[in-house]
């Protein structure tokens, strides 16, 4: 006690005792947090690397554009058709919901609607498959259209959320200027608000498409049986599609099937990565433009 009153001036300026313990512990948690981030990125890299290294040898012109057994052209085309149809249904609905949230619903209406969107977003996709199966497939048979409806339900909340975010960023001054000129609300929504927010709406839609492209669970119940040799554009019939094909190949467990599945996975992943990274970059840019 008595010698602690006069600290030794020549003692090194490093903490000791309790403080030292606390600092070491803090350091350890920092290392742990960094390790967690490295782990997650590591897993991503390992997964992507596996897909690229095993999928790349399978890729060729025939693989991309010919039917089974030479390639997976019908599956790629079919996925494109199904997702295009589902997005054509989901995008208008999503944007209108976002408009309703920002333009018309007061805080009282917006709360329940946002909750509903969150609930739809949280629904397991396999449930949507069951839903569409009972609604459509049970009576009319499997079809790409049934799958497209399930995918549209997945896309709507994503598009609505993204569109709402950018709509809220549209500068008040623009709206006020439009009001001051005596422009009716619907005109200012269509000619001022929506065009200003268009960049963000498009990116939200692209992100939703990136999500829908890989959705398998709903399609397994709605568009499972198809002819992998046939290129089909008929949305009301069975359409070959990539996710279900990957699933089937992985269940089969043959060496050739695996290679095909890796190749098809690579095609999907490249599309998804390009779409989501591109959309994110665009979104950042258009948000900065709006808020500056």
């Amino acid at each position: 006690m008595s010698d602690s009153r006069i600290p030794d001036p020549s003692a090194p300026l490093t903490p000791s005792g309790n403080l030292r313990r606390r600092q070491i512990f803090s350091r350890l948690t920092e290392v742990g947090a960094t390790g967690a981030a490295v782990l997650a990125v590591g897993v991503l890299i390992v997964v992507i690397y596996t897909i690229v290294s095993r999928g790349a040898p399978a890729i060729s012109f025939d693989f991309l554009f010919k039917g089974y057994p030479d390639g997976v052209g019908p599956m790629i085309l079919g996925t494109f058709v199904i997702v295009a149809v589902s997005t054509a249904m989901a995008a208008p609905v999503g944007v209108l919901i976002a408009l309703f949230l920002t333009e018309y619903a007061g805080s009282r209406g917006a709360g329940p609607l946002r909750l509903t969107l969150d609930l739809i977003n949280g629904l397991p996709s396999i449930i949507l498959g069951l839903f569409v199966f009972n609604l459509l497939v049970n009576h009319k048979g499997t079809s790409g259209f049934a799958g497209a409806i399930a995918l549209a339900i997945i896309e709507v909340p994503l598009i609505a959320r993204g569109a709402q975010e950018v709509l809220l960023l549209v500068p008040k001054a623009l709206r006020e200027a439009s009001d001051a000129l005596g422009v009716a609300r619907w005109r200012s929504v269509l000619t001022v608000v929506l065009p200003t927010a268009m960049g963000g709406i498009v990116t939200a839609t692209v992100l939703a498409v990136a999500r829908a492209v890989g959705e398998t669970a709903p399609l397994i119940l709605t568009d499972f049986i198809f002819d992998p040799k046939k290129f089909s554009l008929n949305i009301f019939g069975e359409i070959p599609n990539a996710p279900v094909w990957i699933f089937k190949l992985s269940e089969e467990g043959t060496e050739k099937g695996y290679q095909e599945a890796w190749g098809l996975s690579l095609v999907l992943i490249v599309f998804i990565l390009v779409a989501s990274l591109g959309a994110r970059a665009l979104l950042g840019r258009s948000k900065r433009k709006l808020s500056s």
């Binding site: 390790g35 981030a37 997650a40 949280g122 396999i126 449930i127 422009v183 009716a184």
Partner: protein
């Protein structure tokens, strides 16, 4: 409202008439736009109700046949028209709990790293990369799990855990295939992390800088700032995020079905095959043997739907009820 200020030149009868036509058009346009927006909003509500109705409708045959004992019964024999979801519920609970217990701490650590530790440039790269994990389609992640992760689990992870923690019943004798509840749980961990991490990161960013600086000024170490300021102010949000992650884990069908091995019994040993509600639907529905089989799978879906909705509502409620007031926008 705005139609009242349509500009009209006084005394100019031509434009007067044109103005009133325009006024009527604007009135119609305003109402029409409102109507279709409202319609879209109502559609969202209708979809939820319709989903619930259709799933209940599909399950009605199984509900009337098995009643509530379906939930506890563990026999699943499509050929004999005997169905019980007990083992599936168990598998769902174990895999999701595992995913949450392992995934949530990792995700929260990542979020802390991104907000407090990472230099700006590195954080701007790692943040989106972690979110990209969520962009990998589940069928591809499941395929990767089947071809890469399962053999690795079989050859390395499972024997290691068995030899080190073998005294715990959950780390029993490993199986020969690597397709197990354990592997499925690992896949779910990968899926849960980006969800919890990205929500938590946004929460941690909302913690007022002054509070953290104040704690630092009082001599708190970085960990003590996290423990004393950051986590307590965001705890409810982090719990809500974890529940959302749990919801994702509960409902994941495809990836789980590829690596879980489709067992039908209840084991405490994680290294044995099992099955979950969602994955059983995905695997057996396309080739269901009879109407009762399909209906029983719908019943599984109904259980999943109820759990999913409850989890979501709970997350919403916790997020709102206990949210830190200063952090609210």
């Amino acid at each position: 409202m705005s139609s009242a200020v349509t500009p009209v030149a006084p005394g100019h009868s031509g434009s007067q008439r044109g103005g009133s036509r325009r006024k009527r058009l604007d009135l119609f346009g305003d109402r029409a736009l409102f109507a279709i927006c409202l319609l879209a909003a109502i559609l969202a509500g209708v979809v939820i109700a319709l989903v619930a109705y259709q799933v209940i409708d599909g399950a009605s045959e199984a509900i009337s046949k098995f009643g509530l004992s379906f939930i506890t019964d563990t026999k699943w024999q499509p050929n004999f028209k005997v169905f019980g979801a007990g083992a599936l519920l168990y598998g769902t609970a174990v895999t999701s709990a595992f995913a949450l217990v392992v995934g949530a701490p990792i995700a929260i650590a990542i979020a802390l790293f991104l907000t407090l530790l990472a230099p700006k440039g590195i954080g701007a790269v790692i943040g989106p990369l972690v979110e990209l994990l969520a962009a990998i389609p589940s069928v591809i992640l499941g395929f990767w799990g089947l071809v890469i992760l399962a053999p690795f689990a079989k050859s390395t992870l499972e024997p290691f855990l068995h030899s080190t923690f073998g005294f715990l019943p959950i780390f029993g004798e490993p199986q020969t295939t690597g397709l197990s509840i354990f592997t499925a749980s690992l896949i779910l961990v990968i899926m849960v992390i980006p969800i919890i991490a990205s929500i938590s990161r946004d929460l941690f960013r909302s913690v007022p800088r002054e509070l953290q600086d104040g704690a630092s000024a009082l001599g708190a170490t970085r960990w003590e700032v996290v423990r004393g300021v950051v986590l307590p102010t965001t705890a409810s949000g982090v719990v809500a995020a974890s529940i959302l992650g749990l919801g994702r884990a509960l409902g994941e069908a495809i990836a789980v079905s590829q690596v879980i091995g489709a067992g039908s019994e209840i084991h405490t040993n994680l290294f044995l095959p099992g099955d979950t509600l969602a994955s059983r639907i995905a695997v057996q529905f396309p080739g269901h043997l009879n109407d009762l089989h399909a209906s029983a799978l719908f019943y599984c879906g109904l259980i999943l739907l109820v759990i999913g909705l409850v989890a979501n509502l709970l997350a919403q409620w916790i997020g709102r009820r206990f949210s830190y007031r200063g952090a609210a926008p």
